[in-house]
Symmetry: D2
Subunit: 141 residues, 4 copies
């Protein structure tokens, strides 16, 4: 699965959905900046705030692919604003686009391929119509 080209993931105006994390001292590593793996946590913050209220009963969202483009270091202390949008919608999966911002600066952008799975079969299941409609609506952004 190839990443979806999107030249706008570094622009705040691109994102209809926003979440925020507060940097923690322990997010830093011995290089003095926020550790690269914590960027994946910030992406998760934006994903779960958006997706958990939309989760169909008896189902889970599973991440299949994460593509993280690092653009700048994050220095403690501070906050990270996480913008989220929908880039594509498939039958049982969809792709989110995200931008991580410290003040006006884009420090990373990301794409996540999410799959809806049935908790019993643990296999992918088609997106229910209401969820699908909400996701498609956001792709227009």
């Amino acid at each position: 699965m190839t990443p979806i080209p999107d030249t706008n993931l570094a622009e705040r105006a691109r994102f209809p959905l926003w979440a925020r994390d507060v940097l923690r001292y322990g997010d830093t590593d011995r290089q003095g900046h926020v550790n690269n793996a914590v960027f994946a946590t910030f992406c998760e913050t934006g994903r779960v705030q958006f997706l958990i209220p939309l989760l169909p009963v008896g189902c889970s969202f599973v991440i299949a692919r994460l593509i993280l483009d690092y653009r700048a270091e994050i220095m403690w202390p501070g906050e990270v604003d996480i913008g989220t949008t929908v880039l594509a919608v498939g039958r049982s999966s969809f792709t989110l686009g995200q931008g991580l911002f410290v003040a006006e600066r884009c420090v990373a952008s990301a794409q996540s391929v999410m799959v809806l799975t049935d908790d019993e079969t643990r296999r992918s299941t088609p997106l229910p119509e209401a969820l699908r409609a909400r996701l498609v609506e956001l792709t227009a952004g």
Copy 2:
């Protein structure tokens, strides 16, 4: 609840039970050493390896108090050996003693007060006899 005086928690020979964690790059912080909160994670590693096989059905172990004495910095890379023993056994709670070691050096010692709780009532419940016997046996160490 006062910590139990124990002059031996810095000595490897004191501990009958052992676990091991591998240091991770992200465990470090901007001061260049392993972040102080990760020491609590190492203590947990020793606790759960020991306690989970002993957990009575329908119950949980809940930590009520953690006392962590920091003795030396931990520098990445490396491994941490976690020694665990039992210091005291009560009706529904008990106190573990732990030592964290990098090679021969004790880098921290800890006491954890653990309470057995019933998953339904979410309240403390007496230690079953088999668990109690195992804990008491270890206090002899």
Copy 3:
């Protein structure tokens, strides 16, 4: 070193200094609540926000002891308010008292013994007068 008895660490009104952390999905563990080691991170958030602006040049604050009393589970999502005060001031060390709150509920209280160390000798060094005065002022709270 025995913990300082303090019956007030569960009361919001006790604390002159405040910091805030946002819970992260990854703070939870397989028991469904925020992992116990993350409480140590919340304590650190309150400590560093207060102490780093007060740090004398060429020195570091080193944590010597952390005592964490767990009072209630923390459930994601939400925020944690971290109240901090000073309980005691010594020659080169001092003891902080902290309370962690989710809304009005105290979920944990903590005491941290902090030592000022000289970066060259890596040994403890007396608290400079300005720092000492600020710490003593806060013990009155």
Copy 4:
């Protein structure tokens, strides 16, 4: 930058370099499995074990892109074996390929684009010949 097609990143035999992490209780999240962001930490473990001994004086390795393909859940307790190889070598950057394994099962594969930067200019700098030769040698794997 498009990910490099590589059908072999799920096969243990593909990787000349190996590292190992021990799962921690706190790696799990409320879904009961190891949190997705921790997979990025495992990738880092493999990268730093390989790269830090090769780091030219006055330089740093900076991650520019991480592509993580999640193939299976990781359940605590256990260990993760991290296989690393080199997929491509450029003028001042290179691409690592990695596989994460629990016993014989591939639970994730990853590609990381790494850039060598000069610590003074903080800009990319050409790979020194010795480093380049070592990286190229590994692409043959």
